[in-house]
Symmetry: C2
Subunit: 202 residues, 2 copies
């Protein structure tokens, strides 16, 4: 997605070979026209996948899930993060380790909002170690929902999120896949290669 | 806003005279077409207010701020919640007491994203005791930004948020203003009265 690649190259700040700041346009300050394009891109990719619902986890996936759900014409759900491990009959929950915050939180989804057999598209802003997405997949498994795919805006290909998610046979669509960030330079994964992998997987 | 009133009457669940659950369409599961209409409604109301930026606080204001910012053609910023009181030269921060979580969190905004003199529209999902909004107003004051107004989707008129915010001379636009919820029945504030108050204040 050229528009997104341009944003990353122009506005992204590489703080180390592992850390990319995209908080001027994606996950703190947000450029709405970019998000609208991202939502349309995901919606086009999954237009024929009979998506019933989009799911994400608060907070930085919310605007992206909304833009995607609007373009697909379906509702979306955002899992909530709670510190306390509150067992409840009314929610599905899964523990998620956050490295940036150095704590484990529970993410929860009300049982009312995910039904058995629903076809759910998982959306998030960034795929790195994949912990938050794995938590969502656990919840969707508990709910006996069908996971259509994972769509992420930016994938840090050099971290292990992809391997974990593919081990569950979930197709992944990354709109921007970053191969490396050595010496402050963002190198994208060859886009044709990414696309073919996705199509083959799906 | 009739479309929103209908949603509240049809889908909202009054759990007590104080508590209204709107998590099937507004702040857990979300109906995108409703949010799009809400964003357009705010954008129409503030079309001539020279808004430079929309601001909200994570998580449940994000999709609403996005829809509003998109319709206005400006960026939005969401304040982040952090548990640790991290003093930093790079962020504006304010403490916010959360009654639902029974803890005080810091909300923070990077100094890069709010500039002195910017005209900022504050958006949130629900106005009750107004604590989160007061935190945002503190941040905007530190940033020497100009607050255009507060726009909220649902106001619980019988709580004290409005009084606190009006004490700072900030106009408030509520798309749905709830006067009372006695005996499980939602009673809206007379809409003409709400509108006149807003126009007079502005």
């Amino acid at each position: 997605m050229q528009y997104l690649h341009d944003y990353i190259l122009k506005e992204g700040r590489v703080l180390s070979s592992q850390v990319l700041k995209v908080d001027s346009f994606l996950n703190h300050q947000v450029q709405p026209t970019l998000i609208q394009e991202i939502g349309r891109e995901f919606a086009n990719a999954f237009a024929n996948s009979q998506v019933d619902k989009v799911i994400t986890v608060e907070a930085s996936g919310i605007h992206i899930a909304y833009a995607t759900a609007l373009a697909l014409g379906v509702p979306f759900v955002y899992a909530k993060k709670k510190r306390a491990v509150t067992q409840s009959d009314d929610v599905f929950s899964a523990p998620v380790m956050s490295y940036t915050r150095n704590e484990t939180v529970d993410i929860t989804v009300s049982k009312s909002f995910i039904r058995p057999g629903e076809r759910v598209l998982v959306i998030d802003d960034i795929l790195a170690n994949g912990n938050a997405v794995m938590g969502l997949l656990d919840i969707l498994q508990s709910a006996e929902a069908n996971v259509v795919a994972l769509g992420v805006v930016i994938e840090k290909r050099f971290q292990d999120g992809r391997a974990k998610i593919q081990a569950r046979n979930i197709p992944i669509l990354s709109l921007a896949s970053i191969e490396s960030m050595e010496n402050g330079r963002v190198v994208f994964t060859d886009s044709e290669e990414s696309k073919m992998e996705f199509l083959t997987k799906e």
